[in-house]
């Protein structure tokens, strides 16, 4: 699993990346009430907004950690957004993306680097 400074995580399986937000982010946001996920087929560029996470009082943008094409969005989030709070780094995934460039994944932080980054906040 890799991580970004914007608190997204990526798990790569072949050339399909599963993306979500980290436990730290989920905790900071408070109760998640809705997630606006990207549509399958959409092309993403690393760094562009790919999803929006809503809590009662705020809407936070989630940025694509890498470029590619959206293959699937998590169908369970519409009916159960609380999954993001309960299990952010597994069942609370947002989208699966077929990636274009493996190097983008390799450039992301690993768990140790991310944890070290969190210490600085």
């Amino acid at each position: 699993m890799r991580f970004t400074k914007d608190h997204e995580w990526v798990a790569l399986d072949g050339d399909v990346a599963t993306i979500g937000i980290t436990a730290y982010a989920a905790e900071q946001l408070g109760d998640v009430v809705y997630v606006e996920t990207p549509e399958p087929g959409r092309a993403l560029k690393a760094g562009e907004g790919m999803a929006v996470v809503e809590s009662v009082k705020a809407a936070s943008d989630v940025y694509a950690p890498l470029s590619g094409e959206v293959v699937e969005a998590n169908p369970d989030l519409a009916g159960a957004p609380e999954t993001v709070n309960a299990d952010p780094e597994s069942a609370g995934w947002f989208a699966r993306v077929r990636i274009a460039d493996r190097a983008e994944y390799d450039a992301l932080m690993d768990r140790a680097a991310y944890d070290a980054f969190l210490e600085t906040l």
Binding site: D31, V33, Y34, E54, S55, V56, K57, P81, E82
Partner: protein
Amino acid sequence: MSLNSVGRPTRPASDAPGAGFTSLSGGRGLLQDEALIFERDSWESSGVDLPAPEAGAEDLAGLVRAEPLRLPGLSEPETVRHYVRLSQKNHAIDLALYPLGSCTMKHNPRLNEKLARLPGFADLHPLAPVSAVQGALALMDRLAHWLKTLTGMPAVALSPKAGAHGELCGLLAIRAAHAAAGQTQRRIVLTPTSAHGTNPATAAFVGYEVMEIGQTADGRVDLADLAAKLSDEVAAIMVTNPNTCGLFERDILEISRLTHAAGAYFYCDGANFNAIVGRVRPGDLGVDAMHINLHKTFSTPHGGGGPGSGPVVLSEALAPFAPTPWVVHDAGGFRLVEETEAEAARAFGRMTAFHGQMGMFVRAYAYMLSHGADGLRQAAEDAVLNANYIKARLSGVMSAAFPDGPCMHEALFDDRWLEGTGITTLDFAKAMIDEGFHPMTMYFPLVVHGAMLIEPTESESLAELDRFCDALLGLAGAALAGDADRFISAPHLAPLRRLDETLAARKPRLTWREPEPGVAPAPLAAE
């Protein structure tokens, strides 16, 4: 003697029951609970007596509702009880100082309600021939004159229905002015980070890209950042003055000079006009357009969330693009310039059907007459005095966000003073409810952490200001002394405890749904 046989005790018994008492039915004295109108099984009744229709609707065969309209009707006595019981669950200006910053919760004079209800105003159709409504047009004209004179601006668009609607009007006029001058490359609007959400929302609505201007350590617009961001791609800046931190922008003349030098317009959000009305004219500050919230500065009632009214004063440069309609006075009397006239050729369009919030115009005009130029000036001074008094009384314990120098009509605190107590701004606000006060504006402006924005207005007596400050100082002391329970589970004494807003957003239930026959209605359950 003749012995009185109807004696009964006239002093309370010495062993009166204490707190924790509950009634048998769940009733709580004067505070009555009240179900939804849909839960009374009153589907066939009506509280209005109507005659039989003189003809049928067979001429509308095929166009008539297939299913009956399933809505309950209550008799007049039941209706009155329903709404009176509901009203008892609301806080209101008429109950206590309502310290909502930026909302200007001043007293709503009842003379204004009486005058707005005169049949000559209330029972007037907007499309009646102008010869039949000369008094209404004259009132609009006089109101316009007061607004222009108070702001030092040459023109005003009366039709916007609320402040945000006024912002839209101002930006559309600016857009039209730039288009007329061939300046179509101007696609950016600058707003300070402290701006009210309606500013960037309105700019985006009109198709502009919003860029933020930073703030200095003393809570004002960062001139250097503004100068760096101005260019010939900027259409306008949107600045609130006094700003949302309750501070007057000292460099306002330089802000408008820089903006105009870059060929852009200065939109001023007039939400805080109450601080300066009668003492400063926005026209003298270089403003090109400013909406005025009649429901803030000019006392028209907030009504539980509306209706508002947001006339927009305009500079010479923008006046030609004002939306229809407007009132004109010429030899024939008053008339309305609507779509027909050649005079309307440059108008950017129309903001609303008909002419604007006439009901609010009557109330605001009566308010202006009642105060006069001298009274309005005094009101601004008292508003500023009251806010500074609160700031002075509370600053010893609560951390003022900008402690140096006076504030204007509202005092801004942050949550630094609560550090280590485990109590948040939200908790503190909820505890204010138990003390009998509506909380102040919380978490706005966004630029200050845990913001608490207090605006008393000029309608408060010294006694009420002191009562408010005493209550807050008492709470602040309890917070700092570690009495966290008082806050974290507050309010305790309101009609309801804290509500589950997460549940409302995750499982939105926005209308009453009729349960299946024979099935008990499913209550919402907290997770």
